[in-house]
């Protein structure tokens, strides 16, 4: 043996986890939702996410190589996740150039301007999505009606999301109960048969992804379960108080981006708290804000804003919510 021995501090073994493995896990967990989306919205739902990923990777590469002049981090797979999530929050009828702008904002503003992976305070995909939502409201709120593969882009009929219908209707003073007759029933919504963003429609598929993430220990249950519970309880409370003006809690759970947001967006490692206790505080905030925006806000859907607002509180939560230290409480049993 003529090579030198390597010396380093312990530990000398390392677990299987790596950033790219975790990111791959997230991508796999997104696949069922993607499949459902393709089934309902057709080819556009197949190629838009792919394009979104390509755009995100391209912008990340260009920014790192030519602006920041540092080694590329494409291999970690975070740009793929950002690209997929961005596409999943957009309608399938979106023009490609708007998608490209979204990817640029997500990667450039949401991620790289803060220093890249690990240092961005806000979920990059949501930053991109909200930017598009505010800049191109028309394109961002024309939702193709789910049909399937026989839909081509040209004859796509656009309609409103269930949440949009509700908001519009309530503005014009209609009763919730009559409005709800026009939306798909719960089972249809659970399976994704409704208007909406590409990735958010199928609650069943998203829950499948959630189970996969839990099984692979990529995320813990705290954030998604807390958000869903909070949304359910808070909207349920409102519904009990006044069923005429409020939709039922199951409706709130199944519509809009609550599922996608709570399972894949709010759990984004970088922008969520570090301790279980902190996660629960953060997730409760998201749940409450979501229902508040949906009920009283100007927009039909509030998950995206709720997550971004709570993202801003994460550093604060991390500073004040500490894990239970070993030996802190004297327990002499």
């Amino acid at each position: 043996m003529n090579k030198l021995l390597t010396v380093s501090l312990s530990p000398h073994v390392h677990g299987k986890d790596s950033t790219s493995r975790l990111m791959t896990g997230v991508v796999i967990a997104l696949l069922p939702a993607w499949a459902v989306s393709v089934y309902y919205f057709g080819w556009a739902a197949l190629y838009l996410p792919v394009l979104s990923v390509v755009f995100c990777m391209f912008f990340e590469f260009v920014i790192q190589k030519y602006m920041l002049k540092r080694a590329s981090s494409l291999k970690d797979g975070s740009a793929i996740v950002t690209g997929l999530l961005l596409a999943f929050t957009l309608p399938s009828s979106l023009p490609v150039w708007i998608l490209a702008i979204g990817a640029l904002v997500a990667i450039g503003v949401g991620k790289m301007s803060f220093g890249g992976l690990g240092t961005n305070p806000f979920n990059p995909a949501l930053v991109g999505r909200v930017f598009l939502f505010i800049s191109f409201p028309v394109q961002l709120t024309s939702w193709p009606v789910p049909k399937g593969f026989h839909t081509s882009l040209t004859d796509a009929v656009t309609g409103a999301t269930p949440l949009g219908l509700l908001k519009e209707g309530m503005r014009s003073g209609e009763q919730v109960s009559t409005l709800l007759k026009n939306v798909p029933d719960h089972m249809q919504m659970f399976l994704g048969y409704m208007g909406g963003s590409m990735g958010e429609v199928a609650a069943a598929a998203l829950l499948l992804g959630f189970l996969y993430l839990l099984w692979k220990k990529i995320i813990t249950w705290h954030i998604p379960v807390t958000i869903l519970t909070t949304v359910f309880l808070f909207s349920g409370l409102l519904w009990l108080i006044n069923p005429a003006n409020n939709a039922d809690p199951v409706f709130h759970l199944l519509t809009g981006g609550v599922m996608l947001g709570s399972i894949f967006m709010a759990t984004d490692y970088v922008t969520s708290p570090m301790t279980p206790k902190g996660m629960i505080i953060y997730a409760t905030g998201i749940g409450l804000l979501t229902v508040i925006i949906r009920r009283w806000g100007a927009y039909p859907e509030g998950v995206q804003f709720a997550i971004l607002i709570m993202n801003a509180f994460v550093p604060l939560i991390n500073m004040y919510v500490k894990p239970k230290r070993f030996g802190e409480v004297k327990k002499n049993g």
């Binding site: 030198l4 021995l5 390597t6 010396v7 380093s8 501090l9």
Partner: protein, 317 residues
């Protein structure tokens, strides 16, 4: 319409007035009377906030100066005597002159001189490697080469030479603040008197092991042979712990000790090449021009074949 504007203007002005009154009283209540000379002193300080004076920042140093009855023990190494003279002027005190100093690296354990015996991996900080073991060479005294000193330097006066794996001091940037001395876990860096033209002679080794042991892991280690000690006409060299040390205050830069060192561990920097050596080494002539011109690039870029090679590695000015 005009009413709306009127109300807005009135209410906002009212708010502003109330805030102003509150602010006034708060400012009165919490007023801190400070010696105005603190600001004056702070103004003449270099604002480097390097901590070289022993205080966390320039402000604290200024406070200490104003409080003190004499400037004994208070010295800003960055500003030097000039700044201290101005501080003294403001405070009406006597400035205590101090010799300007400069950091030197007392290790020549380059890749060439000191064979690697293992391979370190982990946190790239000398402090951690030092705590773990001797480092990737067997020398328990020498430079670990991970650049804690470079990291600590606020004045861009240090850089790591990739060829040798050792830090290099850029003399004109060095303010002798001592941050690198503090940062080095092995106490390799010393602040020495800054001589004319930044000339310096020092033993570039702090290895206290016996000669034979030291030579085993480093070809340019000081072996404590005392030859320099015997040849020094000014008693500037002391021997102890198998190591020679040249007192920079007593040294008159005669350079007698340099050629007698059998391991070339005494460095002379920023001198014109000695005349005797000119005949020995053909490249020495070229070297000397480089040295007198004193540009960093020529100094670090060349490699001569004689014992001079070691000094060129550390010199840069």
């Amino acid at each position: 319409m005009s009413n709306t504007v009127l109300y807005t203007v009135i209410s906002l002005s009212g708010l502003g007035a109330i805030a102003a009154v509150i602010l006034y009283f708060v400012a009165q209540k919490f007023k801190v009377t400070e010696d105005p000379r603190i600001d004056e002193v702070e103004d003449v300080l270099p604002h480097a906030n390097c901590g070289g004076c022993g205080y966390p920042g320039c402000r604290q140093f200024a406070e200490a100066c104003v409080k003190a009855d004499s400037l004994e023990g208070l010295f800003c190494p960055v500003g030097g005597n000039e700044v201290m003279a101005r501080v003294a002027e403001i405070l009406g005190l006597e400035a205590v002159e101090e010799e300007p100093r400069v950091a030197v690296i007392r290790c020549q354990g380059s890749f060439e001189n000191r064979p690697r015996t293992s391979h370190y991996e982990g946190a790239t900080t000398c402090a951690v490697e030092h705590a773990l073991y001797t480092g990737d060479t067997d020398c328990p005294w020498g430079c670990l080469g991970l650049g804690d000193c470079v990291e600590a330097c606020n004045f861009e006066a240090l850089y790591m030479d990739e060829k040798t794996g050792l830090p290099v001091v850029i003399d004109e940037n060095c303010t002798a603040c001592g941050a690198c001395v503090e940062a080095c876990p092995r106490d390799i860096i010393e602040l020495r008197k800054r001589n004319k033209k930044d000339r310096k002679i020092f033993v570039s080794c702090i290895n206290e092991d016996r000669g034979g042991v030291a030579r085993k892991y480093c070809s340019v280690a000081c072996i404590g042979c005392s030859k320099c000690f015997q040849v020094c006409p000014f008693d500037a060299i002391t021997m102890g712990n198998n190591l020679a040390f040249i007192d920079s205050d007593a040294c008159r830069l005669c350079r007698k000790c340099v050629p007698v060192c059998p391991t070339h561990s005494i460095l002379e920097i920023n001198f014109p090449a000695p005349r005797v050596k000119k005949e020995l080494v053909t490249t020495a002539g070229a070297d000397s021009s480089g040295k007198t011109a004193g540009t960093k690039d020529t100094a670090t870029g060349k490699k001569s074949s004689s014992g001079d090679s070691t000094e060129t590695q550390n010199k840069n000015d």
